[in-house]
């Protein structure tokens, strides 16, 4: 193996930006690391080069452990996004720098320099200064410079990110050509999937510091194993479905499974996510015109032309028991959209216009194992811990979720007993059950475990009314949904969802929906009008807002009602909890400030106090994460030029 990474981890401010990344890259491979900005891909590259210190794990280059070696001793070539050429040196001096440092004789140096200028297509430009070259030429110089000392490994950190489209394509070809001629093991970091697909022998997809999947580009595109990879690479539709005996069901419709059964899916019916790509979608004026399994009919929403293809966006009406995972349902909408890609020939034969009715069929489907929700249940043998175990366990069983039981805050001997008892209490009916224990406190234990694995819900025994500070610390520990259980209760079936009529409120509904669906609870959406004033305008607007929310929840498979409250929020919540017979309260998480601290408003504390005996689910939307702290790494200025593909 040319490059081996073992459990590589890097933290900034305690948060892991690279989280246990393990990878093996054989000799001569062109490996592309792709992910959205902030996913940790550049940090991985910099750790391999020795430019960032490794917090945990190991880096091996050709079997040599270089984890703690300085960059000078690693024998890598590194190409930066912004070239990083030595501005006061000529092109020739730039390229010769690595050789000069190694005290190579002048004659040999000049020979090597001319060779490299030839290789990167800049022969004769050695006397120029970097400032006299175009961006593309400068990056060619940087590549030549990185190759001069004949490194064993070539690392490129978004090398073409600052260049325009045409030059990128030229440079891509040139790079691939040079790489295969030299046979040098290469890691190329990018956020551009065209680049990734064209260059990669193998591709690694990163998100939130984790390396999610590794494989050849075609494999990852056609048969992704995770939801993120399915939606990040290429476009397509992802729907919730069922898999049983070589057949995939989406709602009432059945498709033969054309790719292999997803690993980990049993013979019996199992929930899956169904992926189809725009090129697999067939459009026809009627069912007879389709040469594939018909899916539904809808209206053409837009048509866009992209060179050799035509992209048709069709909006399909809500179908019973069909839920869209991606593109995500938008607030106030229960229909979903499907993209179809047609050749211009097909477009000529059956022209379509905006607003036309069409039938949609799907030629090929890929089913991803849907791992189900994942719960982290915190137990410590106390009555509160037992309450978390009882309520969380029942909910997890209903949701057919994966559960991690985490014992905390007790000495190891007592812990083993507690965890064993909890394990027996949970019994069977779960997708998976893991147990772990730690003597840490509740907050520390939860934070540590969330770093190791990602969870949808953390269940903790906690009376939020009496310990708001504990809730704040738990919210700070990670972007997770939090279920706080104050006492042992029967499983909740009717949730009161208190939202504000804002973007934040919309996001809360979109996050809470799938959780409530999995738990089988119904929802009542509550929004409060400050004063029962004469002006009816706010009230009408809020009613519309709630109706949209209820429609969205229905599309996610959650039975929903709406209530408009009046007067102080706390009073409205208390009244509705009593009157509506709700047995759970759902709230949106307060936003973290720039330093990552979470402080609940006094109103939120009062709302928590209004429900002292109810389980409270605090949902954390992406919105909260986006306006939260933006981290820049070790104080360097991070130039953000990334575009989401």
């Amino acid at each position: 193996m040319s490059i081996v990474l073992e459990q590589l981890t890097k933290r900034y401010d305690g948060q892991p930006v690279v989280n246990r990344v393990s990878l093996e890259i054989p000799e001569g491979e062109f490996f592309v690391l792709i992910g959205p900005s902030g996913s940790g891909k550049s940090t991985v590259l910099r750790m391999i080069a020795g430019l960032n210190v490794v917090d945990q794990g190991r880096v091996l280059l050709h079997g040599r452990d270089v984890t703690n070696a300085p960059p000078q001793q690693r024998g890598v070539g590194f190409v930066f996004q912004h070239y990083a050429l030595f501005r006061h040196m000529s092109v020739a001096d730039n390229i010769e720098f690595g050789l000069r440092v190694r005290r190579v004789a002048p004659a040999a140096r000049r020979r090597r320099r001319d060779e490299l200028l030839e290789l990167v297509g800049l022969a004769g430009l050695g006397r120029r200064m970097p400032g006299q070259l175009s961006g593309g030429q400068q990056q060619r110089v940087a590549l030549a410079r990185a190759l001069a000392h004949q490194p064993e490994v070539l690392l490129l950190d978004e090398p073409f990110g600052a260049l325009d489209a045409k030059i990128r394509v030229d440079l891509r070809r040139a790079l691939r050509d040079i790489q295969s001629r030299l046979g040098i093991t290469t890691i190329f970091v990018t956020h551009d999937q065209d680049e990734a697909f064209e260059l990669a022998d193998r591709l690694g997809v990163m998100n939130f510091g984790r390396l999610l999947e590794v494989g050849p580009p075609a494999e990852l595109y056609q048969r992704p194993q995770t939801e993120f990879v399915a939606t990040f690479l290429g476009t397509g539709s992802l729907l919730a479905g069922q898999c049983a005996g070589g057949e995939v069901r989406v709602g009432l419709l059945r498709f033969p499974l054309t790719t292999q059964v997803p690993p980990g899916v049993a013979a019996g019916p199992a929930p899956v996510h169904v992926l189809f790509r725009p090129e697999d979608v067939v459009l026809g004026a009627n069912v007879a015109a389709l040469d594939a399994a018909p899916f539904s009919s809808g209206k053409v929403e837009s048509i866009s032309f992209s060179g050799s293809f035509e992209r048709v966006r069709v909006r399909l009406p809500a179908m019973p028991a069909v839920r869209a995972i991606a593109p995500p349902v938008s607030y106030g909408d229960d229909s979903f959209q499907v993209d179809a890609l047609r050749t211009l020939e097909q477009a000529r034969q059956a022209p379509l216009a905006d607003g036309d009715s069409v039938w949609v069929a799907v030629r090929r489907i890929h089913a991803l194992a849907y791992p189900g929700l994942s719960f982290l249940i915190m137990v410590d043998g106390s009555p509160l811990g037992q309450a978390a175990l009882s309520v969380g366990g029942q909910m997890a069983r209903l949701a057919h979720a994966r559960v991690t039981l985490l014992g905390f805050g007790q000495p190891p001997a007592a812990m083993a007993q507690i965890v064993q008892a909890a394990r027996e209490a949970l019994g069977s009916g779960l997708a998976a059950l893991e147990t772990r224990s730690t003597p840490d406190s509740l907050v520390m234990a939860a934070a540590g475990e969330c770093e190791r694995n990602s969870f949808d819900v953390i269940v903790a025994g906690c009376a939020p009314a009496t310990s708001p500070a504990l809730v704040e610390r738990l919210l700070e520990s990670g972007p997770k949904n939090l279920l706080l259980v104050p006492q042992t209760l029967p499983i909740p079936v009717s949730a009161l969802v208190s939202i504000t009529d804002s973007e934040h409120g919309k996001q809360d509904v979109l996050v809470a929906g799938p959780l409530l669906h999995a738990m089988g609870a119904e929802a009542t959406l509550l929004c409060v009008v400050p004063e029962a004033g004469r002006d009816s305008q706010p009230r009408t607007r809020i009613e519309q807002f709630l109706t949209d929310g209820a429609r969205t929840l229905e599309a996610m498979g959650v039975t929903a009602r709406t209530v408009v409250g009046t007067g102080p929020v706390v009073e409205a919540v208390r009244r509705q909890l009593d009157a509506g017979g709700h047995d759970m309260l759902v709230l949106g998480a307060p936003l973290a400030d720039r330093s990552g601290r979470v402080a609940m408003s006094s109103r939120m504390r009062q709302v928590l106090e209004a429900a002292p005996r109810h389980p409270i689910l605090i949902v954390r939307s992406r919105y909260a994460a986006d306006v939260g702290p933006q981290r820049t790494f070790d104080g360097r200025i991070v130039i953000i030029e990334e575009v989401t593909p």
Partner: protein, 287 residues
């Protein structure tokens, strides 16, 4: 906007006459201020010093006392500038590249010499190195080094007074340098010293030079600190500025003006060079 309302376009926007340039008011005020504050005094001293012609000027400058004062001024300023170039760059490097407790305080102290009266600087040095002070006495007895009333005292005083010049010239340039160039050099196998010598320092050459020249120009005219530290011993520790004071006091106006003109010309030439360097640097950065 080309609505042809004839009277408005003839009168101009503010109703001023057509021959009056845009921004004429502020421009005139600034030029008048410059003339009164700078040009007139400069003109007067030039006229005064050249009253007896170039020969007279040369005669006044080349008396043994005046020539010694000028030589002493320039060589002490030169030694100071050399020390300042090295240590000022080092200070700036430490302030930009390292973080340590008390860094903010140190950064603020750099400007202190600009704020304290130079007389006070002189007094501080006399207290520290004077023959009555412990350190001064020891240096003189054990090593035979005489600091106060001697050139070393002058150099120390100048170093103190001009300390901020190189630091503040280098600091912003160093802070704005692209660290990726250093990182690139590291991956190419260069050690810390090589990186400083081959990558960092070439980029700092212009600010170091201009800071050094400025400190030299500033040092030529230093009076307050030196008159305390060096005293006023002709042919021994009397610098040009102190000499000028002596000539003014003994009503030898030609002697005072002539030496002043030499100091002034050297300082102005240096300022011109610094300006040219700054210009080159901005042009180079833009390219």
């Amino acid at each position: 906007m080309n609505a042809p309302t004839a009277p408005a376009s003839a009168q101009g926007m503010a109703g001023r006459p057509a021959w009056w340039p845009r921004g004429g008011g502020p421009r005139l005020a600034a030029l008048a201020y410059l003339a009164v504050m700078l040009f007139v005094p400069l003109g007067v001293i030039l006229q005064d010093g050249l009253r007896a012609g170039l020969g007279g000027l040369w005669g006044a400058v080349s008396t043994p006392v005046a020539a010694h004062a000028l030589r002493l001024t320039f060589w002490t300023a030169g030694v100071m500038a050399a020390i300042n170039a090295v240590l000022g760059t080092l200070t700036a490097y430490v302030l930009v590249r390292y973080s340590f407790p008390g860094k903010g305080l140190l950064n603020a102290i750099v400007d202190l010499p600009l704020a304290i009266p130079t007389l006070v600087t002189g007094v501080m040095l006399v207290v520290l190195y004077g023959p009555q002070a412990a350190l001064g006495a020891w240096l003189q007895d054990a090593l035979g080094w005489r600091i106060i009333f001697a050139p070393p005292g002058i150099i120390l005083a100048l170093l103190f007074v001009t300390f901020p010049f190189v630091v503040r010239a280098v600091q912003p340039v160093l802070a704005s340098l692209d660290r990726e160039q250093d990182e690139a050099a590291e991956t190419l196998g260069a050690g810390a010293w090589t990186i400083f010598r081959r990558i960092t320092f070439p980029a700092l050459l212009l600010p170091v030079t201009s800071g050094t020249l400025l400190s030299f120009a500033r040092a030529i005219g230093e009076f307050g600190a030196i008159v305390i530290v060096a005293g006023n011993i002709p042919l021994k520790s009397q610098t040009a500025a102190v000499y000028v004071l002596g000539q003014v006091e003994s009503e030898n106006r030609l002697g005072a003006s002539a030496v002043s003109i030499v100091m002034l010309s050297v300082a102005y030439a240096l300022v011109l060079v610094v300006d040219w360097l700054q210009h080159r640097r901005t042009a180079w950065v833009r390219e």
